[in-house]
Chain length 245, copies 2
């Protein structure tokens, strides 16, 4: 079973089994480009994404839309709802999805009886929060070229960590409009910037697949530092003196 939780915080085999048991009970299929959960909803399920790509997004009243995270197979969402009352954003399917749905009551019973899962979940949500901060930085400070390079590289690395990509190559389900909504750029400018990246030999993107020939090179363009992803394989922490700002 694909479980991105396990890439952030190790989950013991018996705990994995407990999750898997619950996850096998009910499957939900969602068509591409439909909402799984809408802003304001109080869903009664915790979801595990089994197949397909989705996104978290927020919309402004006038239609402007910001994707705030991509969800890929193995990702868990809705685990915060029992705590946070209602959704403050929507979950949208990018491709067709296959989801495991776990009744929140059952899910809470499980985390209650297995503290290790609660702890892992806590780590998982903190890692997601860290990614969210990086996105704020990405959109606020990076140029279009850096920004797209960053999103592509981050997404590739998450896919690789999930075992869905290797050797710099991956299936790719995001349209240029999706990338535009995620980066705060227009689709037209995404198109042109992707061409710049292609021309520079930094990516090959097309035909539903992404190839990154030189991770280091793309990372340099993106000003990429993988620490914020909080993968278990991450580097050790360091110390630092007082510093003026």
């Amino acid at each position: 079973m694909l479980l991105s939780l396990d890439e952030i915080a190790p989950v013991a085999p018996q705990d994995r089994n407990a999750i898997e048991q619950l996850a096998q009970r009910s499957i939900r299929i969602v068509a591409a480009r439909h909402d799984v959960i809408g802003e304001g909803d109080v869903p009664h399920f915790v979801y595990l994404l089994r197949e397909g790509w989705a996104c978290r997004y927020k919309a402004l009243r006038d239609g402007r839309r910001q994707i705030v995270a991509f969800l890929i197979p193995g990702d868990l969402f809705g685990a915060d709802v029992p705590v946070a009352r209602a959704m403050d954003h929507s979950i949208g399917a990018i491709t067709a999805l296959r989801l495991s749905e776990m009744a929140t009551a059952d899910f809470e019973a499980m985390t209650g009886s297995r503290p290790a899962i609660g702890g892992a979940l806590w780590r998982y949500e903190l890692a997601n929060a860290s990614i969210q901060r990086e996105w704020t930085l990405n959109i606020g400070q990076r140029t279009a070229l850096e920004r797209l390079a960053h999103v592509l590289l981050e997404t590739y690395l998450r896919l690789e960590a999930a075992g869905l990509a290797a050797d710099g190559r991956s299936d790719w389900c995001l349209t240029q409009v999706d990338l535009a909504d995620a980066t705060g750029l227009t689709p037209v400018h995404v198109n042109r910037t992707l061409q710049d990246l292609r021309r520079a030999g930094l990516i090959k993107l097309g035909g539903r697949s992404l190839t990154i020939p030189d991770m280091k090179a793309l990372g340099a363009v993106a000003l990429f530092d993988p620490d914020y992803l909080h993968f278990r394989s991450g580097k050790a922490p360091n110390a630092r003196p007082d510093r003026r700002t």
Copy 2:
């Protein structure tokens, strides 16, 4: 004792006392414009901000800097470190700060023996994550005018919830450079945009204080919807049908 945790999730008096006990043990003073914690650090304390304004920020290697959150009196930070290993961002003082520092071991012992605090903390971090998503939306989609209006209104409301502001008036400690770093604009453009807001009668800002004469009007300009703040006084959730995207 000011405790923003309590504005998000109610904390029982005995739990409040437990936190206060711990918080009274050690005070740390930090000078304005110095770092409290640097990116990569593994601090051994959980901090409660008692006095002054601070921010979370991330910096790019070339010096570009993004403020990803403002911290005001009553805010708690560092509670995630025991879980997340190392800091993926920095905490910087905007004004001089007075902080309570609680040894992480003591803090964890307290949350361990008082599950209600752990639950409240979980809600608190989720509310912060929600604000972070709103900031991503803010920077990605709103114009300079909307964006500044949004930041000003959000910050005012948080101050009000903390009891540090009332009747549309509040002390104000952010410079235009701070606002620029938080919104992804340049200081020059922040200056001009603030003047537009002033000219429109939407804000009075100067002399270390902010006044918002008409909350509704400013909210309309900012496309502001307070639900994402997850204040206890928030509205009830609603339902919504399947919707195409």
